[in-house]
Symmetry: C2
Subunit: 306 residues, 2 copies
């Protein structure tokens, strides 16, 4: 276990009622009805959602050209009238805009930023290249799905400067132990598709949480095999497993994780409420966390907002 906690240099400010939350669409176009429902939820939380011009662009499976999506996202960070950012949807396309983002510019404007699934590419970029603390949590189009716990967790995470502790109530220990390190969280498929690129996630000393959706068990095996072969898991401090939705049984996923990460001797704990089904907890990425299979907890050691 590393003795010192990596300092967080770039904490966003906590949101408060009336704050303006800019909506970003860095990946795929999205469904209007779910989007409206999600906006309604943000309003019911007391926020003021801001829909930028050009948000509804459509370019095949992308929400506009790469340049358009990169510029839109950059503008949300640099605009002083915008207090926080939430993504409309994942889908696909975030990784395409990474070469068009200027890490130095974004790093000067730390803001609450929320998304998941395809947005994993941006989460990794903002945390690793900009030293920012960001949030793995619901998108606008999933926020209206009626899950009240998801909403409550989002509200708490974005507004309270208090460290969070998650308990995997029905969690399954795949490898016992306790470890701590800066937290990273995202979609396995996306991490896998960044492997070998300049944007490959650096997992050394980190506590990693992975989730996925709609990938057959052999595909989960293939992704973990690639990442293991590529050395991605070297030095990883601990692994938390979130929801694997429509990926086969959780027993099978846990067996695959145990097999593909065998020999690493790090704590691995499955059963966290993060991902594409049920409760999608809002988790602070970049914040130091401790994973403990004895207490089945993932504890964040610092606040995620100031």
């Amino acid at each position: 276990m590393p003795s010192s906690i990596v300092p967080q240099t770039n904490l966003p400010r906590a949101l408060k009622p009336g704050d303006r939350i800019g909506i970003a669409a860095p990946a795929s176009p999205f469904d209007g009805k779910s989007f409206e429902a999600g906006l309604g939820v943000l309003e019911s939380m007391g926020f003021n959602p801001v829909v930028p011009e050009g948000l509804f662009e459509k370019n095949g499976f992308l929400a506009g050209t790469d340049r358009h999506r990169a510029d839109q996202l950059t503008r949300l960070f640099t605009d002083p009238e915008i207090d926080g950012i939430i993504c409309a949807r994942g889908g696909y396309g975030s990784m395409r805009i990474l070469p068009l983002l200027d890490a130095d510019v974004l790093a000067k404007h730390p803001k609450v930023f929320v998304g998941f699934s395809d947005i994993t590419a941006l989460i990794g970029f903002l945390v690793q290249r900009c030293g920012m603390t960001v949030f793995h949590g619901p998108s606008v189009t999933t926020l209206g799905d009626g899950n009240l716990q998801t909403r409550e967790h989002l509200m708490a995470a974005l507004t309270r400067a208090e460290p969070l502790t998650l308990t995997a109530e029905a969690g399954r220990t795949i490898h016992s132990g306790r470890a701590q390190g800066p937290f990273l969280c995202g979609n396995l498929t996306l991490f896998c598709h960044l492997t070998g690129t300049p944007f490959q996630p650096d997992l050394k000393d980190r506590i990693l949480l992975i989730e996925d959706r709609g990938e057959a068990p052999y595909r989960i095996d293939r992704m973990l095999t690639q990442m293991r072969m590529a050395g991605c898991f070297q030095g990883l401090a601990g692994l938390a497993v979130g929801a694997f939705t429509d990926c086969g049984s959780s027993r099978q996923i846990n067996e695959i994780v145990a097999d593909r990460l065998s020999g690493l001797d790090i704590p691995i704990l499955a059963g966290f409420d993060a991902g594409h089904e049920g409760v999608n907890m809002t988790l602070p990425v970049g914040v130091p966390a401790r994973l403990d299979t004895a207490s089945k907890t993932l504890s964040f050691l610092n606040p995620a907002v100031r």
Copy 2:
């Protein structure tokens, strides 16, 4: 265009009637009925298919443990009674056994080796690590599908020491030009899942042919994006596009290829008969080839067998 042709050091011997073809199952278990049909086709060609003990092992989505599959494959190469090798099926699992194969041992036993899809991982290994010439072509379980051209091409490729020329009759030029280099061929998904690993294909100066099946257009885009970002296409001499089955329209695939490889200024020609539908030509991997969009041809410059 490189002025010299990379020498082939490790040519297999051409097969002749009565030769013993060993069946390998380095990936997934397979369907008995298609397998029997394929064996019948090999027999009708005058070959003597050899089914090794343990071929029907099953370990979830794998045809036995990694050690079992690696040992079986190694034995087929080293056994002097076996004249050639054809894979029962792809599926998934070839990449898992790569670290268990001894390239020096295999390189001493060049033999006709045929497979495709998941077998791409082995094709890359045998060509790049062993300097062997191998064949991208049907597996036993696809050979019985009734496609007579696939069978005729397989027979010709394995038995005749004559260079082959392929014409993409209804081929579509994505970027015009002419180039030559050693030929590599395989499944895009597999190439993508080797990216960042020690088994990443070295595409420099090569003519590459890709095919795939059952991957949505945004996934094809994502794979090409990853490989481009990882630098895989740097120095690539030319690209041939085979069948993209159940991946959306060929027009859309061609557009994605054009977009993701834009700026490379290499010949790109789509419409070759290789992959998961229709005719699956048996193509010699490792042999120098010339891709010419004017004549819509992929011409092999040397024989693939001695």
